[in-house]
């Protein structure tokens, strides 16, 4: 980093720390440790040993706009997909849709369908990874199991070797479909303004149809594991529905014309905590509905519903805070467009007491239901005769100026917004990422969990590892992709949890992988 930039950065840090100290007496956030490649939860206890406040802090990506300035807009799907090793296809697709808008070109039907096919394949793979590797082990292996067992190997020990083999094989085949169209999974070269770069050869269709059939079976099998291992365990159901993990906020998700969930395209619909529609808008209108708020103690930008104004971290019918991601999408939609997923959706609300569901940990269940939808949607699209049309791109002719694009990333709504000069060179680039959209709810969830779980603590011996893991579970359910950048495994942000006593001395510290 250049010295001048470093200095500006440090000054910002100092100001943030000063504001923080003023607000929270005696608490010093060490600026050196603030930017390690970790998310960080700092928990401050009062004299009784209860939680006074809990802060989630995360590293943020810097310099995105500067990096993009002057680059051809057509490079954005490649550049933005490189930002994140976790959601490359989500960024690629949001950027591609942004280019459609920028060049005022509607993709051909086949181009659009191929994009949606690839996109659902990506969502299915990503969700499966989260369920089996990242978030699921909390339940399948147990929230209080030793960290060394709370992983995919522990999952296999519980549900059988078959799970491991199926995850590996299915993931490989799903990625082959993405690579067929995009060349590379991590840096796909699929999307072009007005369509895609490659058509589906009819000779290859049977193989992909077989994959989609197997994918539906895999997703349904996963749903059954969820039922058998998690829903049949009363302790887990109690955990999922506990007040500790519950917030009454608004929810945002993309829907089609019948208000059914769609990952790739549609309008964004927001419902309030009672399930009433608050607004419905296109990507073009996102700035009328979404604004960002900053807090002195975090690098995160907290988005909120602009017409309602920032009201702080509050819940209830008038809150301006909203959630995104699997649970939010199910809450914001009236249903799912495929039969098996629709049945699972109805079972979900029947079991959890109607819409909307406010339990953060229900995200895990919602994610598995979305796996079923994504797999069925793949099959639907592959059954569409237009999917093999060679007419996959409409070449744009308009002069570019401004474009906005949105998709539902696995973790939630993702906005891209670019402006260019008349040659199509970027003059402004902005992203609002899923974890930003979820930031306020995540912060509330972490604090709520900390307050509920940590009580009357006077020394470190009273804080078993499993307890802190239960605080982290509030965070992990969102599958957060912090920094939207480096130092994140798929949804697997290393997290440092520190607990400070009433005298502000460190009681204990744990680092989770």
């Amino acid at each position: 980093m250049e010295p001048a930039v470093q200095q500006t950065f440090n000054e910002g840090n100092l100001r943030a720390n000063a504001a923080y100290r003023a607000a929270r007496r005696q608490v010093i956030v060490d600026p050196i440790t603030r930017l390690e490649g970790h998310g960080k939860i700092d928990i401050y206890l009062d004299e009784r040993g209860d939680v006074e406040r809990a802060y989630l802090q995360v590293p943020e990506l810097r310099g995105f706009e500067v990096f993009c300035l002057g680059r051809p807009a057509e490079d954005m799907p490649q550049i933005t997909s490189r930002i994140c090793g976790v959601c490359p296809t989500a960024h690629h697709m949001a950027a591609t849709k942004c280019l459609d808008d920028l060049y005022q070109v509607e993709p051909t039907p086949a181009g659009r369908k191929i994009r949606e096919l690839v996109y659902n394949t990506f969502v299915l793979e990503d969700h499966a990874l989260h369920f089996y590797v990242l978030g699921g082990p909390d339940f399948i292996v147990g929230p209080e199991a030793p960290p060394a067992e709370r992983n995919i190997v522990g999952v296999i020990a519980r549900v059988g070797l078959e799970a491991g083999k199926r995850v590996i094989t299915t993931r490989k085949r799903l990625r082959e479909l993405i690579a067929y169209f995009g060349g590379k999974v991590v840096h796909p070269v699929l999307g072009l303004p007005g369509g895609v770069s490659k058509a589906l050869d009819p000779a290859d269709l049977p193989g992909f149809k077989e994959l989609a059939r197997d994918a539906v079976a895999f997703a349904e099998w996963t749903l059954q594991i969820f039922r058998d291992v998690i829903l049949k365990n009363p302790d887990y159901v109690e955990l999922i529905t506990a007040d500790t993990y519950t917030h009454r906020t608004c929810y945002m998700g993309q829907v089609d014309e019948q208000n059914r969930l769609n990952f790739y395209d549609g309008k964004l619909r927001v419902v309030d905590c009672n399930g009433n529609e608050v607004c419905k808008f296109t990507a073009r209108e996102y700035r009328d509905h979404v604004a960002e708020h900053v807090e002195p103690w975090s690098y995160m930008k907290f988005t909120f519903l602009k017409p309602r104004g920032w009201q702080g971290f509050v819940e209830g019918p008038d809150t301006s805070l909203y959630g995104v991601g699997p649970l939010a999408r199910l809450n914001a939609a009236d249903g799912l467009a495929t039969p098996r997923a629709q049945a699972a959706y109805e079972e979900f609300y029947r079991t959890l007491g109607g819409k909307p569901v406010h339990h953060t940990l229900a995200n895990h269940w919602a994610r598995v239901i979305e796996m079923v939808y994504a797999a069925e949607r793949m099959a639907q699209l592959l059954d569409d005769p237009e999917i093999t049309s060679p007419d996959v791109r409409r070449v744009p002719t308009a002069t570019p100026r401004e474009g906005m694009g949105v998709v539902e990333a696995p973790r939630g709504t993702l906005f891209h917004h670019y402006q260019t000069d008349e040659r199509g060179l970027i003059t402004m680039a902005n992203m609002v990422v899923a974890t930003g959209n979820n930031a306020a709810r995540i912060a509330m969830s972490v604090e709520r969990a900390a307050k509920a779980l940590i009580r009357g603590v006077q020394d470190a011996a009273q804080i078993p590892e499993g307890l802190l893991n239960k605080v982290e579970m509030a965070f992990r359910a969102y599958d957060p992709c912090l920094g939207c950048a480096t130092h994140t495994l798929p949804g697997h942000t290393p997290l440092r949890v520190r607990i400070f006593g009433a005298d502000r001395r460190l009681l204990t510290e744990q680092v989770q992988g």
Binding site: G85, H487, V511
Partner: protein, 180 residues
């Protein structure tokens, strides 16, 4: 920090070997990182520096990837030994410091470098599922200064450390290639 030069980032090869029918070379150097996040590219830079000189060694293959976690399985399967080269940010040693964490210890401590987290679990998963996993996995991790700013150039400390990192990787690779 990099200004907005409208150059394209270098190309990264991130797909597994294209031709699965050809058995992979037994020893793999795998550079990990992100080539547009400043120092996060150090693992890729080490791989690039060694690719040319090792191209003719029939025992060693040099690859780069921006992928993480379970995706590493695609690279590890079928190798006898693997050297992973990656960025790390412990905050406890100066940028440019070379570290050689043991994958198992690493995960037991649960800290540091998320690209590498999951290496032991990935190995265990592969073995459990009957896949041919490497007997030896070494990690060369280089302490970095800035992985959060978008840019295609290393910070000065990391640029200065690159030759030493390359030399260390060369030595570790030779050890892996010569081991029985």
């Amino acid at each position: 920090m990099n200004r907005a030069a409208p150059d394209k980032p270098d190309t990264v090869s991130s797909s597994p070997p294209a031709d699965a029918a050809v058995p992979p070379r037994p020893v793999l150097l795998l550079g990990l990182g992100n080539d547009i996040l400043t120092d996060d590219a150090i693992g890729l830079e080490v791989a690039r520096a060694l690719r040319g000189e090792l191209a003719r060694d029939p025992r060693i293959e040099v690859r780069e990837t921006t992928e993480m976690g379970l995706a590493l399985l695609d690279f590890l399967v079928g190798r006898r030994a693997v050297l992973l080269v990656d960025a790390i940010q412990t905050g406890t040693v100066p940028p440019g410091t070379l570290l050689e964490p043991d994958p198992a210890d690493w995960e037991a401590r649960g800290g540091g470098n998320p690209h590498l987290l999951g290496v032991a679990a990935t190995l265990a998963l592969g073995r459990r599922c009957g896949l041919p996993m490497p007997e030896w996995v070494k990690i060369l991790a280089i302490e970095i200064a800035d992985p959060f700013t978008l840019g295609t150039a290393l910070t000065p400390a990391l640029r200065a450390a690159l030759p030493a990192a390359v030399a260390r990787a060369r030595r570790l690779l030779a050890g892996l290639a010569d081991s029985p």
